[in-house]
């Protein structure tokens, strides 16, 4: 941990401390809407970070991370609804189930040498048939979905994640900050260097004694476990789960945009990406509403165009560019 702090330069430390202080104090002044947007930003920073570990560091393309969000959410929600087990305990079961699925997909892919886009197809396939399965599973509410009761008298039961915007704001902030810290620690560890080695050149990595299979398995298990925690948050924040929504392909895509735009394989990339994209979506909603353009898909078209421009202008991501401009690049230790 101390090595980690030392690897950040002086200016970086100040910026980091300032940003954290502002975000911690913000609920004193910000209104509910601003907090809800920030909560969404933290959520996407968090799940984006989980995906970043797999794609950005281990180089394994998953286009089915919505699977782990959904599984995490469903497991925790069902434990709460059917057995009265609260989310702080349920999250362990959620993590176990999602990590189990992650391990199964990883094992199939990595053991049989399914790599690149074919691995991505495998992740899509698993997510799709899980979606169809949940659509038809009576015990999980089927296509009609699952609703977490919103009772006034339970408000403020933070131990059951029953609370208002403020609770979820701080929870999401803690998740995002925790994910940044975790990934930062991993990148400075033996595992981190092994992930990158496998990403850069698997044959060369194996010649250096690295068990590439084990390394990729570690990546998919950690990533799916992390994502499942995001799923628990999602379920208790929105209080409803529909298979056609949570396991939807577009959910998997939505969650990978922040790390791609922010900078793959960088610790702060997913965070910066979420800070760019989520407000952008909100602004587009406001602008199209103000202009009175309500044709379906208008927002998506603008969003897509802006995405293309950003990625064209900064192909390695926004964060590396920002870090360069503001002198935040970490020193080599």
């Amino acid at each position: 941990m101390s090595d980690l702090w030392r690897s950040v330069n002086a200016r970086g430390r100040i910026v980091l401390a300032l940003v954290l202080a502002v975000l911690l104090a913000l609920p004193l002044v910000a209104d509910r809407y601003v907090l809800s947007v920030l909560t969404l930003i933290f959520y996407f920073a968090y799940v984006g970070q989980a995906w970043n570990l797999m794609m950005g560091y281990a180089g394994q393309l998953s286009l089915g991370h919505a699977l782990y969000v959904g599984l995490g959410g469903y497991v925790a929600a069902l434990l709460w609804l059917d057995f009265g087990i609260g989310p702080w305990l349920g999250v362990f079961a959620a993590v176990a189930v999602a990590a189990g699925f992650g391990a199964a997909i990883g094992w199939l892919g990595f053991r049989f040498g399914i790599a690149g886009v074919y691995f991505a197809l495998l992740t899509i396939a698993f997510t799709e048939f899980t979606r169809i399965g949940f659509d038809h599973l009576g015990a999980t509410g089927g296509a009609a979905g699952l609703f977490l009761p919103f009772e006034e008298k339970r408000m403020g039961e933070w131990w059951n994640l029953r609370g208002g915007q403020l609770l979820f704001y701080y929870l999401a902030l803690a998740l995002a900050a925790g994910a940044v810290l975790l990934v930062a620690l991993i990148t400075q560890s033996r595992l981190g260097y092994r992930l990158i080695a496998v990403r850069e050149d698997e044959t060369a990595a194996r010649a250096l004694g690295i068990d590439a299979f084990a390394v990729k398995m570690a990546a998919v298990v950690i990533s799916s476990a992390m994502t499942a925690v995001g799923g628990v948050f999602y379920a208790f924040y929105y209080n409803n789960l529909f298979p056609s929504q949570v396991f939807e392909m577009s959910r998997s895509i939505e969650l990978i945009l922040a790390p791609i735009v922010g900078g793959l394989g960088t610790v702060f990339g997913p965070v910066i990406g979420a800070f760019v994209l989520t407000p952008l979506g909100e602004v587009l909603i406001a602008v199209t509403a103000r202009l009175g353009v309500d044709a379906p898909g208008v927002k998506a078209v603008f969003y897509g165009v802006i995405l293309i421009v950003i990625i064209y202008a900064m192909p390695t991501g926004v964060w590396p560019r920002l870090a360069g401009w503001f002198g935040l690049r970490s020193r080599s230790p």
């Binding site: 090595d3 400075q188 560890s189 033996r190 260097y193 092994r194 990158i196 080695a197 850069e200 050149d201 044959t203 060369a204 990595a205 194996r206 010649a207 250096l208 004694g209 690295i210 068990d211 590439a212 080599s332 230790p333």
Partner: protein, 242 residues
């Protein structure tokens, strides 16, 4: 002599083609052993079987008293064999130091001591001043030495070098020879090299194995091997003797 590495009746066929045919040899601890032969002689296939990249069809490879044939490349490395690639494969997005660090982390769990080890290895290979550079920005001679540094950082007992001289100018060649000689002298590391550049083989190797059409046709000191009529006929050509 106690053999660190021994290959017995090693064979590999690709469809009808016998790439390596019943090759037997031993490498003693601490020696520098070269495998030479014309193009297509089976050197690379032999190398791949020693490094775990290919499983032999027949025969055995024994290293430090245990069979290693058929093990995966990473398992072979963990047993104590470091290898380089003929076509260099640095991790392009990592710095020179981090490339070597990945190797150093094989036997060290904390990055701090691994980094110290990586720096020592880089110094031994004349790469200390380039440690912060991206591996993809290095020139070929530097990349060749980076290959060796990375393999060396895994603390191998045996270093397998796949044509590390290929593509180097004579001065660079001599530099590599002197570095390898010094490594062998200072650390006692055993080196097996596959080599085309005879000048380097003559300067480095204590013993040489000559392959031709997959079979071992001669074995001995470099001086004896280059005078062997079979070797001259098949590989070196008459002018090499003069």
């Amino acid at each position: 002599m106690t053999a660190l590495l021994s290959a017995a009746n090693l064979s590999k066929r690709f469809r009808g083609l016998v790439a390596v045919d019943q090759v037997t040899f031993e490498v003693a601890a601490g020696e520098i052993f070269a495998v030479i032969g014309p193009n297509g002689a089976g050197k690379t296939t032999l190398f791949a079987m020693l490094a775990g990249a290919l499983a032999p069809d027949d025969g055995t490879v024994t290293f430090a008293g245990a069979r290693i044939d058929g093990l995966t490349p990473d398992a072979v490395c963990r047993r104590g064999i470091g290898r380089t690639f003929q076509i260099v494969r640095p991790f392009p997005g990592l710095s020179v130091e981090d490339n070597v660090l990945v190797g150093a982390l094989l036997r060290r769990t904390d990055t701090r001591s691994a980094r110290a080890h990586a720096r020592a290895v880089l110094a031994a290979l004349d790469l200390a001043d380039k440690r912060a550079a991206l591996a993809s920005s290095l020139t070929l001679p530097d990349r060749k030495r980076l290959e060796v540094a990375r393999a060396l950082a895994t603390d191998p007992k045996l270093l397998l070098l796949d044509e590390v001289m290929a593509g180097l100018r004579p001065t660079e060649n001599d530099r590599m020879v002197s570095i390898l000689k010094q490594l062998n002298r200072d650390t006692g590391i055993t080196i097996l090299l596959i080599e085309h550049v005879m000048r380097a083989v003559m300067a480095l190797a204590g013993r040489v194995l000559v392959l031709h059409h997959g079979a071992a046709i001669a074995q001995g000191t470099p001086e004896a091997v280059v005078r062997d009529p079979a070797v001259i006929a098949s590989y070196l050509g008459a002018e090499a003797v003069g």
